[in-house]
Symmetry: C2
Subunit: 284 residues, 2 copies
């Protein structure tokens, strides 16, 4: 194999190289290396990582996500919307509402179609997991981390921990433009309290239905948007008594807006765009 | 027009999106905007800019180069090698040695072909222009800037100015890993002494036939490699009595090696790789 077909797509500027494993057969042992290669803007295509769209025995399609450092992630909200768009437009599914298998379980997606094209997708991101053991956090246990003060070196922050199948820690901040992403992001990402690493979010509250949001993603660094992070931010906002359940919360990310709604049934619904940038053949 | 075909290629990690204007007709008034769009790794393909391969009445092909900030550049050594590879492999030329038109004049290229594929290209980068007026430098005139002490704020550096059709200032440094690219690069690039801006290079001499090299490129910032910069570095090395004319000088750039040879006939020959990353269709 010296080449394969790809589609580059992005959700709010969080871009991945998508490979259809129904047609291609990228070998398992090469996936991490290929993810690093295609992600390089210098010698590859350029992206936050690679997403495989694979056959599944539990759902019409399965999403596997590899960060630009070659590590395999569990879930990615922006990736899910693009996988849903790809699956519908490439006739891997016929219905507008279907399941997608991920490493953090089955996810329900609903596509909005206009002239045969999908531009907006709602994804049921499932229930947030809030206990320390589920995040995971080092000292584990069943308590929740809500508005808890934590020291990172000299800096003290109050954080709320939420897992959306991948771990997030959300810190409130008065001015989003001052979010210490490059200074604290890498420190907190690898803090020993988080044995599997963690995505680090800063959130400025505009009102109960509107948040500003910036993220340092585990394995990728600063990205334009993180769908699971936006969900975690909205959940943290409800847990901290700022927002309400069953209420649309618009989250302004660097790459654009997502609408998050933590339903009474416990599921977090995420609605937002998905765009195709280009498609073609990559030469290994 | 809502899509066009593209090829992404790189020379030593200095990557561009190449568009064949023999087949596409990207409108003139949109070129700068499209260059910015396709260069974005978030929402575009991801590159240091865009290069158009156009018909020419002076040569088989013409190269037009747009940086990732939308500005049009005059010349690019890595780009020339990729244009030569593209032109030969896509049968825009039949000979292995041919001319390419650029905004800084006609350039001669020679491709080395193996199994119908071009991997190495030698480009005649023409004669360096060494006078201040040709660079251009503000106070103009016919003198050369060789090993001249210049102050940039608190910092004093000794620089040698060389134009390869685009302006370069080359500073010697003891350890290339300490090259102050992000601190001094943007300052010197826009220094008023250089009315058209300037590419800023730091060079560590290993021996007369081997240099380490890093660059802050005008309009693009740090790139993995700059072919015209490598030529300027080799010329500066000869002007400062370190290297000799008619001698192969290996320049180690961040993205890999180039071999530069300043011939007795005054022309600077550059030999190095050119690689195709992917090809496909971009959706505007």
């Amino acid at each position: 194999m010296n080449s394969f077909r790809f589609t580059k797509m992005h959700g709010l500027g969080n871009s991945y190289i998508y490979v259809n494993q129904f047609e291609e057969q990228l070998p398992e042992e090469k996936l991490s290396e290929i993810a690093i290669q295609v992600s390089s803007v210098y010698t590859g295509i350029g992206s936050d990582g690679m997403i495989l769209i694979c056959p599944s025995d539990q759902a019409p399609v399965k999403m596997r996500i590899f960060n630009n450092d070659g590590s395999e992630g569990k879930n990615c909200g922006n990736g899910l919307r693009c996988v849903a768009k790809y699956a519908y437009e490439h006739k891997l599914v016929e219905e507008t509402s279907f399941l997608i298998e991920t490493l953090s379980g089955l996810v329900k997606a609903e596509v909005q179609v206009e002239n045969g094209k999908v531009n907006v997708v709602t994804v049921d991101m499932g229930e947030p997991r809030l206990t320390k053991s589920e995040l995971p956090m080092l000292d584990g246990g069943e308590e929740h981390t809500i508005n808890e003060t934590m020291a990172f070196g000299e800096v003290e922050l109050t954080g709320t921990a939420v897992s959306m199948g991948n771990p997030h820690i959300v810190f409130p901040i008065a001015d989003i433009e001052q979010a210490p992403l490059t200074t604290l992001g890498p420190v907190i990402e690898k803090d020993p309290r988080f044995p599997e690493g963690i995505n680090v979010e800063f959130v400025e509250t505009v009102n109960e239905q509107e948040l500003h949001f910036r993220v340092w993603e585990r394995g990728s660094g600063i990205t334009q948007a993180c769908g699971t992070g936006a969900c975690a931010a909205a959940v943290a906002s409800v847990l901290n008594g700022v927002s309400k359940r069953n209420q649309d919360i618009t989250v302004h990310l660097a790459g654009g807006d997502l609408v998050i709604n933590w339903k009474d049934n416990g599921h977090v619904m995420m609605t937002g765009p998905a765009e195709t940038v280009c498609e073609g053949v990559y030469f290994l």
